[in-house]
């Protein structure tokens, strides 16, 4: 059983692949159906941001077990243009691409934790995690 997956994200097919891997690893971790859908959807949004804004990047999914809890840690990394105004990007309804938006506030609501680092011209890294409800 692999405890980490790295998926290169370049095309819309990679977005599908990434969310399928996330679902599979979530199943391995013992998540309930609703959480599997939340995880797959969050991955889909982050992977799409990479394709749309950075063209390519990497998505890592880690199965983590620490202390008494078990879950998935997902890292989406790209070396794209970065986000100039993070505060605005984290506001609902903010969009730079004709109504689609980055969807970051939504992704944050789907997960238990959310961290973002972005440097204009250098790229963006988003770390999200979901813990299994026991």
């Amino acid at each position: 059983m692999a405890s980490a997956e790295r998926i290169r994200i370049r095309t819309d097919r990679d977005i599908l692949l990434a969310r399928q891997r996330g679902r599979e690893m979530g199943q391995t971790a013992g998540f309930v159906a609703t959480d599997l859908t939340l995880i797959a959807t969050a991955i889909s949004e982050l992977a799409r941001n990479i394709v749309l804004y950075a063209r390519e990047g990497m998505l890592e999914i880690h199965l983590v077990a620490e202390d008494a809890r078990c879950g998935l840690l997902i890292v989406a990394r790209d070396h794209g243009p970065g986000i100039a105004d993070l505060t605005r990007a984290m506001q609902d309804g903010f969009s730079t691409s004709g109504g689609l938006g980055l969807g970051l506030p939504g992704v944050k609501r789907l997960m238990d934790s959310f961290e973002i680092d972005s440097y204009p011209g250098l790229g963006t890294t988003v770390r999200i995690a979901k813990w299994r409800r026991s």
């Binding site: 819309d12 977005i15 959807t41 799409r48 969807g103 939504g106």
Partner: protein
């Protein structure tokens, strides 16, 4: 992966059978809008029962399909959004604003029949019952 579109009388039924890429979704949108004209369809049903993720792009494409078909004179109804999807879409802040939805294919067909048959709309027992239902529950907490 092509989505099969079935012609059923005045309606088109598109059944999404697996996860779709963005390109597949765009193809579905193009194909449905074309077929509405080709078959002079009055209604479109998109069945998403087998779909496991409806993210922002998929949601927007469904909205576009409904609005574009609307400009071509056809009503659209999305059917089969299962509970996990509904929950996730609300959390994510997505909406199908202005787009009709129904529980399943059967309800979707009933909705379209109701909406696209003027005679049925006037004399439909469903519509009458619906109109009278409101006040009954009022005042009961």
């Amino acid at each position: 992966m092509d989505v099969p579109v079935l012609k059923q009388g005045h309606f088109l039924i598109a059944t999404v059978q697996s996860a779709l890429t963005d390109a597949d979704l765009a193809q579905l949108r193009r194909s449905l809008v074309e077929q509405v004209g080709k078959f002079r369809s009055r209604g479109v049903i998109v069945d998403v029962t087998a779909v496991d993720v409806l993210d922002s792009f998929a949601c927007r494409t469904l909205r576009d399909i409904a609005h574009m078909a609307g400009f071509r004179g056809a009503e659209t109804v999305i059917v089969g959004i299962h509970p996990e999807l509904a929950f996730t879409m609300v959390q994510l802040g997505l909406s199908l604003e202005g787009v009709a939805t129904a529980l399943d294919l059967e309800e979707g067909l009933a909705y379209l029949q109701e909406r696209t048959t003027p005679a049925a709309r006037k004399s439909s027992p469903l519509a009458t019952r619906g109109a009278g239902r409101g006040p009954v529950s009022r005042g009961q907490r």
